[in-house]
Symmetry: C2
Subunit: 418 residues, 2 copies
């Protein structure tokens, strides 16, 4: 759930998004374009009135374009600009606004140039991509053959972009955002994202209460298990100082990163900077921490490998946990977590050993160790630390939260290393 406070500047501007594509309508592909565009304009203080998804049907596209243009000052449409017969957006625009299509020589030249630089002949079918509605302004696509365009109709500016995200995004940045700023007199704004994994959204909101001020908005985004606090800062204000102030409020140790970079990336960069390595010993998370640590290329700089110790016999065999310890404390316990972390560190020769053992659920819980009980241990050059949690989620989320908690434990050890 996202909420944004302090962004009441431009409620008068009605803005709509139209996403075109049969695969979006049938639910077989997720409409990530609308979410991304929404976020971009949101950081300027513009929020969509509605998002409409339509399929490859000429009449449906025409209908929704007409309606949107009547209602909104700004319409942003993606998709349907390709060369095939189910790419109908150009034709729908022509019908909706009575603007006959004509071959645009500049568009044609750009498409031909793209094929030339790739040393490939241009298929005849691609000629239709140079068709523009009368009065439309061409928006060059530097990464694909589908040009975009802007059409002003009444008091509405309608932007049309290709549906391929990596083509659409730079076009939105180059054409739409500057236009929106100018046309609606929006302040340039920077969004600073403060990223946390051990802070509930409600607690974050409490701590940030009263932080808003003229030119500074605060928003929240929960992307399990991460909670992000977003500062929307008008140009001319010191976003670094504001970020530092917000980090103090939230808790300095709780904010693992600012803007981009996952928790695993942050941990990886800390390890790399110190010339250190880590090995993992995972029971319930069964490889998920290792997978997370290797999501970004170059992980071999700091990740050597690890053990997936699902069965107790594997805890004994791979990490040297004693059978007596397992017997007396059970696999899900502080002593076993510590033994796993120390065992994998010793055997792998890595600087750090990171271990998890817990009950992911839905089965396997007991009165003393209910589902969601997870023990973490981190063994390093300056000793071993332990943490335990009782997670309230379902299996996938219990495991995802465990991965984040384990990585965060290592992060804090790396930060506080003497």
């Amino acid at each position: 759930m996202e909420s944004d406070v302090g962004l009441h500047g431009h409620m008068g501007v009605r803005f709509d998004i139209v996403s075109q594509g049969e695969e979006l309508l049938s639910g077989q592909a997720v409409d990530t374009n609308a979410a991304w565009i929404s976020g971009q304009l949101g950081s300027l203080g513009l929020f969509p009135g509605r998002v409409t998804v339509v399929g490859d049907d000429l009449e449906s596209i025409r209908e929704v374009l007409r309606e949107s243009a009547e209602r909104a000052s700004l319409v942003v449409c993606t998709g349907g600009l390709g060369p095939t017969s189910d790419d109908l957006t150009r034709e729908a625009v022509a019908l909706a606004f009575s603007r006959p299509l004509h071959q645009d020589p500049t568009a044609m030249a750009q498409i031909e140039a793209r094929y030339r630089t790739r040393n490939r002949p241009m298929p005849e079918t691609n000629r239709v991509q140079a068709l523009l509605p009368e009065g439309a302004e061409l928006l060059e696509n530097l990464l694909g053959t589908a040009p975009g365009f802007r059409l002003d109709t009444g008091s509405c500016a309608a932007f049309f972009f290709p549906g391929v995200p990596f083509e659409m995004k730079p076009m939105v940045e180059a054409y739409l955002l500057p236009y929106a700023r100018l046309r609606f007199s929006l302040a340039r704004r920077r969004t600073v994202i403060l990223r946390t994994v051990n802070l509930a959204e409600s607690v974050a909101a409490q701590r940030m209460e009263g932080f808003e001020r003229p030119g500074v908005g605060v928003g929240y985004r929960a992307s399990f298990p991460e909670v992000q606090v977003k500062l929307h800062v008008d140009d001319g204000l010191d976003s670094d100082a504001l970020a530092a102030e917000a980090i103090e409020r939230l808790g300095r140790q709780l904010v693992f990163g600012v803007d981009s970079g996952t928790l695993a990336d942050v941990v990886g960069n800390l390890l790399r900077a110190r010339g250190q390595t880590v090995a993992t010993a995972e029971s319930c998370t069964a490889g998920r921490i290792a997978a997370e640590l290797t999501a970004t290329a170059g992980a071999s700089d700091y990740f050597v490998g690890g053990a997936v110790v699902y069965a107790n016999a594997e805890k004994v065999r791979q990490c040297g946990v004693s059978a007596a310890l397992l017997d007396s404390h059970g696999a899900v316990s502080e002593p076993v977590a510590r033994a796993l972390a120390e065992g994998i560190r010793l055997r792998s020769g890595a600087n750090w050993g990171l271990a998890v053992t817990g009950v992911g659920g839905p089965g396997g819980g007991s009165v003393e160790k209910p589902v969601g009980t997870v023990h973490f241990a981190c063994a390093g050059p300056d000793g071993t630390t332990h943490r335990a949690v009782r997670l309230p989620y379902d299996r996938p989320r219990n495991l995802a939260a465990s991965v984040a908690a384990a990585l965060d434990l290592l992060r804090l050890r790396l930060l506080n290393q003497t």
Copy 2:
């Protein structure tokens, strides 16, 4: 990309979906409800004309409901039925269709009963959930406090369901699907899903060419790295025989499962049925196969654990791969894949050892071993088999495809075991 062939029966019925929720509009949450509902009605031959997403704004919801009801014979709306002040759907319906809200005694009794069975007092705020627009038919929610309702307005039937997916889904199955079948005289249809991981969608489509016949439609769904072939079969036809015929066409060994169950579940069930176990040795996939095998609870029946052998030293230490073998063939090679599989099998005592070593990318490729080169080996009671592929994707998809290819190798070994 989904395509459906042979479902032209009910093009005359206009059906729209409305998803309500600020977090969907701002793009912070993905609208999975619309996709699911679309799929359910799609299997009956009904496809939506459009999906509209609106936020927590009374006037926007009212507007889109009025428009949808004028256009469509069927409108399905989710969200906004909770007890808080930003749950505005009830009020928007009342305004849109001039149907004042009244407290429905049956709805009130159902909500009170839910709290009673949980031994908790009902908060006063929940009383608003018993408000229904005049003339609406109550649809009981057995899994939550937000009742749904149906309202007929003109020639349109509008259904309102809570936005929480696990509450909404059984309600759609219980109320919406039977209603749609009856009202629009739709044939009862069963959808059979044939699931594959080693078949391109275009190849699947070629092999299925001409399979359609009266009462039988064919659709495709790619959900990387899986490709699904969907048979939509009218009641009265033998869906089992049709599925068997389609499986023969596609290739019997290629279809890993029918309807539900992931590839990992299928492998797990094969192992469980045979009373056998598996251990993994993963280099580039770094724990992703283990994670996949443990996604479903109960995996300890057949998964003992494994080794994440990212660094070469770990391949030696954990699986006994000889340094000489690594030197002469390189880590990404058939001999090393075989040694990993045999090593982990021997050391863990599992019946099967499954190993992967490859170049996930984007870096790390060479002329002989370009990015995407991946070697798989499976060691079992009847020997070791090997497979190599050259994957053309980016890092995340190369790794996901590698997990599927490894699991499929084990599946075929289990199926063909003597």
